[in-house]
């Protein structure tokens, strides 16, 4: 029997699915609906200081769509909550009292002065919320005022503010990181050094989601102009996965709890984040696209998968793939795979052929004995996987490892069982001498 209950830095929730700090968690009405639908917790939309900020009164979202209007990427220029602080605090307190088993974390963003943080932390503590999340991530609007990603891009600021918060509150402190940096380990290390209980990532990615070619302006367009916004949704998942894995792998931050965020739309996405080290996950775009009901299959799907895979609790999957996250230089160069096309599944569209022929290694036929037929030419195949990726039929093309002792027809060299990587490769000018 799978136990999906989650205990993330002491914050308990019936499942590891939280709603991220964003429009769906801006007020009581939405959050109650989310809890009714089954969400394990929420990070309340970021609070700031009064007077409340204002939002644009034109479009604040943009999107990239598939042909059937499937939402692939999503972008926003919305700021933090635009409601009075006191209203938010009262609603947080009320909802937490009525839903005591759900996680209630409050996202915060105030100027980088210790006093400002002390004041707001005190107010949040009075709501009996379970924890706070420091919003060092938003790349638009607030960053122009020295907040959000303007803080998250300077590790020293992250450490400083985190330290203040840890000093002035008993509540667990989660530091939300921006992906708009070159090396995610540094801000995570800074949060860790400041005493953060956890980091959450990623916040949105700085972006222009599109250009209106009639208006000649970025979208969403406000009176003829557009501003860069924050990109999220399924398209950002690979970027988020890498950043989560980097922090999980970094010896300096290894073991630091991570709340995974970034394009999570399904139970499988969640499981992938958790395998790379996320203790729980936060979701926004999927809920904004389909409504809160999406959590139901996230819960059931994760549970069913864990059951079939033999996992009893979420702790058993958290970080399980981290040891297999390597660097390129440590990948086994003696591992040799060749593409193999299952002729029974092949529908003869020819995409593998033309992709390989035009852009890769000329390793797939298009005619065999005068018949339309696609076969891998092992003597040319470098095992790059392009054909697998462009094939419209799942599992039609597979990468088959060559057995040790056989000969690679491309290099005419024997396949050896031993592991060998770039660090000792003869072509590597930096290769270390083998130990005497």
């Amino acid at each position: 029997m799978v136990d999906l209950r989650s205990n993330f830095i002491g914050i308990k929730s019936p499942n590891p699915f939280w709603l991220a700090s964003a429009p769906p968690t801006d007020k009581e009405y939405n959050v109650v609906r989310a809890f009714q639908a089954g969400w394990g917790g929420v990070v309340w939309k970021t609070l700031g200081e009064d007077p409340a900020i204002v939002n644009v009164n034109g479009p604040r979202y943009g999107a990239i769509h598939g042909k059937d209007r499937h939402l692939i990427g999503f972008n926003n220029i919305e700021l933090i909550t635009d409601r009075p602080l006191e209203v938010n605090l009262q609603e947080i307190k009320k909802v937490k009292r009525e839903w005591p088993d759900r996680a209630m974390v409050v996202s915060l963003m105030v100027p980088c002065e210790e006093r400002n943080w002390i004041d707001i932390l005190k107010k949040v503590e009075d709501t009996d919320a379970d924890g706070v999340e420091l919003n060092f991530g938003c790349p638009h609007g607030m960053s122009e005022r020295g907040m959000g990603s303007a803080v998250g891009q300077v590790p020293e600021y992250i450490e400083m503010v985190t330290r203040w918060c840890k000093k002035h509150t008993r509540m667990p402190v989660i530091v939300k990181l921006t992906p708009n940096i070159t090396y995610i380990r540094k801000p995570a290390q800074a949060a860790n050094a400041g005493g953060a209980d956890a980091v959450s990532l990623i916040n949105t990615i700085n972006s222009i989601v599109g250009v209106d070619l009639d208006a000649m302006a970025p979208t969403p367009t406000i009176d003829g102009k557009g501003a860069h916004g924050g990109y999220c949704g399924p398209a950002v998942k690979p970027i988020a996965l890498n950043m989560v894995a980097e922090i999980a792998r970094d010896p300096a931050t290894h073991g630091l709890p991570i709340s995974g965020i970034g394009g999570i739309s399904t139970w499988r996405d969640a499981a992938e984040f958790m395998a790379l080290g996320a203790g729980n996950v936060q979701v926004c775009t999927a809920a904004m696209t389909y409504g809160f009901k999406v959590v139901q299959d996230m819960i059931e799907g994760l549970s069913d998968w864990m059951d079939s895979a033999g996992y009893a609790s979420v702790d058993e999957i958290v970080g399980r793939a981290v040891p297999n996250c390597s660097d390129w230089q440590h990948l086994n160069l003696n591992y040799i795979a060749k593409a193999k096309i299952n002729q029974d599944l092949c529908i003869k569209c020819g995409r593998c052929h033309i992709a390989c022929e035009d852009t890769s290694h000329q390793a797939i036929t298009n005619m065999v004995n005068g018949e339309r037929m696609y076969e891998v030419i092992d003597a040319e195949c470098v095992g790059c996987n392009l054909c697998v990726n462009v094939c419209p039929v799942e599992d039609c093309i597979t990468m088959e490892p060559m057995a040790a002792g056989s000969t690679d027809p491309r290099t005419k060299m024997p396949v050896v069982a031993d592991y060998a990587n770039w660090t000792t490769h003869p072509n590597n000018p930096m290769a270390r001498e083998a130990a005497e």
Binding site: K67, D68, C349, G350, R351, H353, N366, R372, P392, V393
Partner: protein, 451 residues
């Protein structure tokens, strides 16, 4: 307005105006933009695509579909027109289920081909709604003049391609209205809103083509004179004659040529004015048989039977057409050949059919007969070339099995005469094949007269 015939029930106005309007509306309504984009996204953009190989005019189908999916329907239409200037009509009438869509890899893989025909219509309709002229520019006039006889699909395609090359074309047609079978021979619900005529106008917009209607070869047009007056001649004259059943009473009222009735249907503005029998029997197994059977049902005939002398698998009508007939309430009776026509008061009242069977590949009557009451009997047993129309050149222009013999360039045995469409040997009775004939012939003519 019921015709008062004691035996036969032939009447017009069997249905209400609303029913006629519904029955003769577009069989496949135009896809809207979203439908087209989603459908286009199903195309895998195959390399060396089977659909292109299956298209008689070799339209670059993956390319035009991709152009729809990228939001470039204008470019998509140009891709189509590059290979087939009558791409709009072909999108409507091609038996795609036996051509491009039959070999679509998604048909092979999942039984659901990309809707190539409907996407082609989406692109070509879009283009024609936004442009008055074809996307081609005429080259400088060459001073050469070609006579194209027959303004059907073959002649139109040939004339257009020649005009693009800068040649002057006189386009003759026996009827008062151009278009050939596109205008007179296709079921109404496949080409609504006067599309055939609009498409002819579109083709002629290239310029350099002078349409001369009411000019019939063998009547007021003479092949020898054309050869003398023009640099080349293209014959796209179709098949003017209709095969007969060879039965007594065939001249009686109520025994009709399907093609004539189909033409009437296409030209009428008032379906309620067309008299149709209550009980209809159609003899034949091709597209024409289905077209007349379905349309008489749509006009309000109660009981329509297609009688075909062989098995259903031998019918020339495509599977889609056969299904269309059956879902329209037409009964398809196979292994039955006409034996006699029964008439009373000079009007047909029944047809006697003899059961047939296959005896070692030979069709044989079994002697068993069945008589179907019929107020109308339609003959849809094929058409023939009328050699007399060739003004005696029939002696010098080579015919085989009643059709014009042409080479791969669609050149006849007369060195300055090319031909295409249904009138040539090997003609496939398909609009798209006729277009390809016209295209090939035009290229060959251009080469020959430019040499």
């Amino acid at each position: 307005m019921t015709q008062t015939n004691a035996a036969a029930d032939v009447a017009s106005g069997r249905l209400s105006d609303e029913e006629y309007a519904r029955n003769f509306s577009d069989l496949h309504p135009l896809l809207d933009q979203h439908e087209a984009t989603v459908e286009a996204d199903r195309c895998y953009f195959c390399y060396d695509a089977p659909c292109v190989q299956a298209c008689p005019t070799s339209i670059d189908i993956p390319q035009f579909i991709r152009q729809i999916s990228t939001g470039n329907p204008t470019g998509s239409a140009k891709t189509i027109f590059d290979q087939n200037i009558l791409g709009g009509m072909c999108a409507r009438v091609c038996p795609t289920e036996t051509l491009c869509e039959q070999v679509c890899v998604r048909e092979v893989a999942e039984g659901k081909p990309v809707k190539i025909g409907q996407l082609q219509r989406y692109a070509t309709d879009h283009y024609m709604a936004h442009h008055d002229t074809t996307p081609f520019a005429r080259k400088e006039p060459t001073g050469k003049k070609i006579a194209v006889v027959g303004a059907g699909p073959a002649g139109l395609a040939c004339a257009h391609a020649l005009a693009v090359e800068g040649h002057a074309v006189d386009l003759f047609d026996a009827r008062e209205k151009p278009g050939g079978l596109n205008e007179f021979g296709i079921a109404t619900y496949k080409t609504v809103d006067n599309f055939a005529a609009r498409e002819v106008e579109f083709v002629l917009s290239i310029g350099g083509i002078e349409l001369k209607t009411g000019m019939k070869l063998g009547d007021n047009l003479d092949l020898a004179e054309l050869r003398a007056s023009y640099d080349a001649v293209f014959l796209g004259i179709g098949l003017g004659g209709v095969n007969a059943l060879g039965l007594e009473n065939e001249q009686k009222d109520g025994v009709l040529n399907a093609v004539d009735f189909i033409a009437d249907l296409r030209q009428t503005g008032d379906y309620g004015s067309l008299p149709v029998g209550r009980r209809v029997v159609v003899i034949g197994g091709g597209m024409t048989a289905v077209d007349i059977a379905v349309q008489t049902r749509l006009l309000g005939a109660e009981d329509v039977t297609i009688a075909y002398r062989r098995g259903q698998d031998r019918m020339n009508a495509s599977e889609f057409e056969q299904h269309l007939a059956q879902t329209s309430g037409v009964k398809i009776m196979t292994w039955a050949q006409p034996k006699s026509l029964v008439a009373e008061n000079d009007h047909v009242t029944a047809i006697e059919l003899e059961r047939t069977r296959d005896e070692n590949g030979q069709l044989a009557g079994t002697g068993e007969t069945v008589t179907l009451a019929a107020d109308m009997v339609f003959k849809a047993v094929g058409q023939t070339l009328v050699p007399a129309d060739l003004n005696g050149s029939g002696a010098t222009i080579e015919l085989d099995r009643g059709r014009l013999v042409v080479d791969a360039d669609r050149r006849t045995s007369l060195p300055d005469v090319w031909a295409g469409g249904d009138c040539i040997l090997g003609g496939e009775d398909l609009t798209v094949a006729a277009v390809e004939d016209g295209k090939i012939a035009a290229a060959a003519i251009h080469r020959a007269i430019s040499a």
